[in-house]
Symmetry: D3
Amino acid sequence: MTFVTGMRIKVINPNTTASMTAMIGKCARAVAGPGVTVDAVNPRQGPAAIESHTDDALAVPGLLEEVARGEAEGYDGYVVACFGDPGLKAARELARGPVVGIAEAAMRTASYLGRGFSVVTTIARTVGHARDLTFAYGVERQCLGIHACDIPVLDLDTDPNAWTTILRTCEKALTRDHSDAIVLGCAGMADLCHDLSANLGVSVVDGVAAATTTVETLVRMRLTTGKLTEFAQPPARGLS
Amino acid sequence: MTFVTGMRIKVINPNTTASMTAMIGKCARAVAGPGVTVDAVNPRQGPAAIESHTDDALAVPGLLEEVARGEAEGYDGYVVACFGDPGLKAARELARGPVVGIAEAAMRTASYLGRGFSVVTTIARTVGHARDLTFAYGVERQCLGIHACDIPVLDLDTDPNAWTTILRTCEKALTRDHSDAIVLGCAGMADLCHDLSANLGVSVVDGVAAATTTVETLVRMRLTTGKLTEFAQPPARGLS
Amino acid sequence: MTFVTGMRIKVINPNTTASMTAMIGKCARAVAGPGVTVDAVNPRQGPAAIESHTDDALAVPGLLEEVARGEAEGYDGYVVACFGDPGLKAARELARGPVVGIAEAAMRTASYLGRGFSVVTTIARTVGHARDLTFAYGVERQCLGIHACDIPVLDLDTDPNAWTTILRTCEKALTRDHSDAIVLGCAGMADLCHDLSANLGVSVVDGVAAATTTVETLVRMRLTTGKLTEFAQPPARGLS
Amino acid sequence: MTFVTGMRIKVINPNTTASMTAMIGKCARAVAGPGVTVDAVNPRQGPAAIESHTDDALAVPGLLEEVARGEAEGYDGYVVACFGDPGLKAARELARGPVVGIAEAAMRTASYLGRGFSVVTTIARTVGHARDLTFAYGVERQCLGIHACDIPVLDLDTDPNAWTTILRTCEKALTRDHSDAIVLGCAGMADLCHDLSANLGVSVVDGVAAATTTVETLVRMRLTTGKLTEFAQPPARGLS
Amino acid sequence: MTFVTGMRIKVINPNTTASMTAMIGKCARAVAGPGVTVDAVNPRQGPAAIESHTDDALAVPGLLEEVARGEAEGYDGYVVACFGDPGLKAARELARGPVVGIAEAAMRTASYLGRGFSVVTTIARTVGHARDLTFAYGVERQCLGIHACDIPVLDLDTDPNAWTTILRTCEKALTRDHSDAIVLGCAGMADLCHDLSANLGVSVVDGVAAATTTVETLVRMRLTTGKLTEFAQPPARGLS
Amino acid sequence: MTFVTGMRIKVINPNTTASMTAMIGKCARAVAGPGVTVDAVNPRQGPAAIESHTDDALAVPGLLEEVARGEAEGYDGYVVACFGDPGLKAARELARGPVVGIAEAAMRTASYLGRGFSVVTTIARTVGHARDLTFAYGVERQCLGIHACDIPVLDLDTDPNAWTTILRTCEKALTRDHSDAIVLGCAGMADLCHDLSANLGVSVVDGVAAATTTVETLVRMRLTTGKLTEFAQPPARGLS
C-alpha cells in the first residue's frame, strides 16, 4: 500500500473563539502521526460558543463554508470540533474525503475500552442533545451517564475552580455509573485530558484527539463517505 | 376556560420559493378553526428548496430570524413547514408559544389512524433523514415504509406526470407496507392531500394541516414548550 | 375545504361513576372548538372505577356498546376517557370516525413540549400498565417517569389532601425527572389541570382535553382509522 | 421437595365453541405429566371465535369468570388457550397460582430452539396483534415473520384444503424467514402440530402444549405470580 | 401421544468443583418428573469456578466434550448449569436434543410471574455479562435490576454470613426494583431457593430447576434445536 | 505528548492456518503507521478455520494463551483477527493495553462513512452470529444487510470463482441495501479489500486494517481497557 503522502487534515472549530481554536489545534497535532499536517480554523462569523440548539444552528453555515474552502485547498479530511457534531451530515455531502465529529469519535472510541463510559460536559442544557447523539450513534447502552459541570464553555479557561469542578464531576460519574472511561463532552476540555486521566486512574477520551486520529486512519485506509445517494454532492443553488 | 381570542399562527416555509409558501398558507388556512389567523411566510434568503442536509442547514438561520421576528409580532405559535423539521429545537428555544414541525405532526397524527403508515416523499436522498425522524419521534415501528417518487420539490407543480407518479407510489406503498394511512413527505404536496385520499380510499395526512391544527389546539389548551433548561431562551450573543 | 358542520364528539368515560362523567364532559367542552358538540356518557354497567387489569377488562364491553350506539346516533368521533386506553383497538374496529384514547393523546401531545414529560397518576398498581402504554405509543424515551400519588380514583374528589398530594407529587416528578411537562395519568384529574399548571409553572397535559381536540381536528382534516384489514368492521357474531 | 399431589390445571378456551374446547383439552392432556389433571372449559357466553380486537375484548369477562370459579374449585394453575392471550393480566390478578397464555408460552418455548421462529396464523387481521405480543414478550428479534393462511378459525376443521394450505404456509415461512421452528398462531391448530412437524422436518410449537407444560412445571417449582402490587387481588366491586 | 420412556437429562456444571456438581444434581432431580433420570457431571479439566470472561471461555471446551460424550451415551437433552450460559450455542450444534442454559431458563420462567424480576448474583464483575444476557434473551425490560452480594462462588458454602447476605440483597432488590420475583444468578445458590422464597414471600427462581424442567418438557413435546443452518452439526476438524 | 516509541502490536489469528496468518500480518502491516511493529501469530492448537459456534469456542483457549504470552513479551496492544470477535472480553481481562476485534473495528469504522453498510461474509451459518454482534456493538441500524457468499474460509484462496462470487455478492448487497460501504465479514478476505473497492466504487472496510489502526491510535492516545471491575485481571486458578 502506498501511503497518502503529506496528508492534510482540517480541524474546524465551529465557534469563533480563536484561543479555543488554537488549543484545539495543539491537541489535534499532539496525536497526529508523522507526516500528517493538521490545520485548525474557525469560521469568520458565528456564535462565540455553542451552548444551545440556536448556537448550534447558527454555527453551521460558517462551518460549511470552511469545508467548501477546504475542498478547494485540497484537504484530505475534516474534523468537526464541537461535541454536538453540528452540520456533520451536510459537511459529508460537501467533502470528498472523510468528515468526523468529535462526539461520534469520542463515543465510538470509548466503546473499545470496556462496558461503558460516562460523558462529562459543560452546562446542563446541552445534556439532552448529547443523549440524542448516543441514540444516533448506537451507543445508548454504552453511555452510562451524562454529567454537567455547570461551567460555560468560555469560562473553562478563566474559572479558577474549573479544574477541580471537572475532576470532581468525573469522580462522581465513575462512582455512580460504574463506568470504564470518561468522555469529555466539550472541545474546550481537550487540554485537560491527560491530567484528568492521571488523576482519575482511568482512560479519558478527548474527542478532538479521537476524531483527528480517526480521520488520519480513514484516509490511510482510503475510506470515505459513500457518495451514491444521501451524501452525494448536493444540488448547487444560489441562495435566492 | 377563556379562549385565546384572535389566535395568530405563523407558518414558516423554510425555503424561499414564494409560490410554495402561498400554497402552504392556503392549505393551513383551510384547516384552521374559526377565529384563527394563519400567516405564511418564508425567509428572505436561503435555499429555494430543501433536498439535502446542506439545504436543511442553510435554511435554518432564515427560519430562526422569522421566529424571532414573530415573537416581536406577537404570534401565539409557529409551524415549521418542511418535512425535515429543520431548526425545530432552536425555534423552540426562541419562541414562547408552541412550535410544531410538519414531520412530527404528520407522523404523530397518523399514529391515531391504525397500526402504521407509509411515507411518500420526493427524492431518494431525503429518505435517510425521514427515517432518522421516525426514531427521534418514536414512530419507527408505526412507520412501515418510506417511498421516494423521484420528483424534485420544485418540479411538483410543473412536472405533468407528478400527480400520476405520486398516486402510483402511494398505491405501491399501501400494498407493500400493509399500511393504514399515507403521510405526505413534503410540504409541497400539501394541496394534493384530499384528491389522493379520494383516489386511494385511505386517509392521507398532510403535515401542514396536521401541524397547523396541532399548534391551534396546543395554544387553545395553553400548552407550550418547557422553559426550565434545554429550551430556555438561549444566551444572546453577537455573532462575532 | 368544507368544514364538517355540527361536528359531534362522544366522550365515553368507561367507568360508571356519573359525577366523574359530568366533570369529564365539562373539561372536554371547555376545549372544544366553536360548533363542536361534545356529549359525555358512561356505560350502564361496569366497574365504578378502573384501577386494575380486571376493572379495565370488565369496563370494555360497556364501552363498546356505547361506541356501537354512537354509530347509530351518528357521532363523528369518540374519546375513550380512561388513562389505560381500554378497548381502544376494538372501538376503532366498530367506529367509522376516529377514536382517540386519553393516554395516547396526552402522551403524544406532551411530546411537542420539549424533551420529555412525567406522568402523575393515582395508585401504584396502575404504573405498570402506563409504562406498557409508553412502549405501545413509542414515547418510552419521552416519558421520563411515572409517579403514583396513592390516591384511589374515587377519592380524588373527596380526599381533602388530594390537591396538595398531587401538587407535591408533580413537583417531585419535575425535579427528579428534569421533565418539561406533566401528564395527568387519570381522567379524574382533568379539572385540576389549569390550577396545577399555574402552581407549577410548566405545562400540564390533561388527556381529556388532548383527546377531544385531537378527535376534533382529525374530523376536521377528514382523517380516520384505516379500514383495509386489522381495523375493518369485525365479523358480526351472536354471543352464543 | 414434596411434589404437589394431584395437580389440577384448568385450560380455558376463551371462545364458546365446544368442539374446539374438546380438542384443546385433548392436546393439553397429551403432554401433561403423570398425576396432572387437565380440565378444559369455555365460557358460557361470548364470541364463538376470536378473530378481532372486539372478539378479544368480549371474550374476557367470560374467561375471568372461569378463573374466579376455578379459584373456588381449587385449581393449581390456568392456561388461557387463545393465541391473543386475552385477559392474561387480569387473570393473574384473580388467581393465586400461575396463569400462562398460549402465545407467550409458544413464543418463549420456541426461543430455546435456535435463532428464531416463524408464526403461522389464521387470518390477516390478527397479524398486527401477534406482532404486538412479540414486543410485549421481548421476542421481537426472535420472531422472524408472522404469516396468515387466510383460514378463519372455525373453518380449520371443515375446510378440506386447510391442512394443505397450512403446510404450504409453513414451508413458505421457513424458506423466507430462515427460521428454526414454526409457532402455531391459533389454539385451533393444536392437533396439527405433530403431523406438521413430521412433514416439515422442524420443530412445530403448539401453544396449548407449551402453556400446559409451563403451568405444570411452575406449580412443580412452587412459582406463582408476584402479588405485592400490580397483580395483587383487585378491589372487589359491584358492577353498578 | 407416546411419552419418551426413560427420558435421560444430562446436567453439566461447567466448572470442576465436584461438591457443587453434586448439589446441582440434587436440585435438578428434586424437580424432575417421574421417570426422568438426571445425571449431573462436570468436566475433568477447567476452572474451579466461573467468575470472569476468562473462566467462562476456559470452561467451554470441557463442557463441549461432555456434550459430545453425552451424544454417544444417548442423552435426550442437556442443561448448562452456569448462569453465564457458557458455550450454549456451540452445545446446540453438537446435540440432537434440546440444550438449555440456566440463565435463559430462569429469566424466561420469571417472565411468567408478573411485570419483572431482580437478579441476585455473586460478585460484581459478573453483572455486566448478566446484563448482556438480558438483551440476548429479550428480557431487558423484564429484568429490573441485577444485584451482586460480593460473595465468590466457592465461598457460598463456607462463608457463615452467606445466607444472611444473600437474603438481605434479595430484600433490597425487591424494594428498589419493585419486582415480582427473584432470579438466582448462580448455580451455586440453587439449594437456597426454597428457604429464600419462604423468607421473602415471593417466588424465587433457580435456573437449575427451571432449565431441568424446560428440557424435560421440550423432550416431552418432541421439540429440539433447528438443524437447518446455524445449528447444524459443525464441520468435524482435527485440532491441528 | 511523548509518542509511544517502538509501539508493538500483536495480531492474533485465532485459527491455526499459517498461510492465512501470514496474509493477515501483511495486510495489518500495510496500514500500520511509521514506527509501529506488527507481529501476526496464531495459536499452536485449535481449529483450522472458524465457521461455527463450536470452532469459535475451541479457538479461544489458544487465543488467550497468545495474549498471556504477549503480556510477557511486552506488546502494547492486540488485534483479534476473526470476524466473530471470539474471546474478546476475556482477552481484555488479560491484557494491560487495548484489545480490538476486527468485527467491532470494521463495523464502527464503517459507521463514519454514511448511513449504513452491508456485511459480505463467507458461509450462511455465520450470519446469525454477525447479526448478534451488530446488536452488541450498537450498529444494528447501521448494518443494512449481511450476505453470505457460500465460500468456506479455507477455500477463499483456492476456489477459482471466489473473487467473482464475492464481487457479485457485494454488488447485490449495495443494490438491495442502499448501503454506503461494504464490510468484509472474514479476515480471510483482507487482501481483497482494495481491488473490491476499485471495482465497486465504494469504500470497502477490512477489519484487519481497521482494528490495527484502531489499536495503534488507542495506544497513541494512551487509552486502554477500564480495569476497575469487569475487566480487572481475573483470579488466577489452576485448571484442576
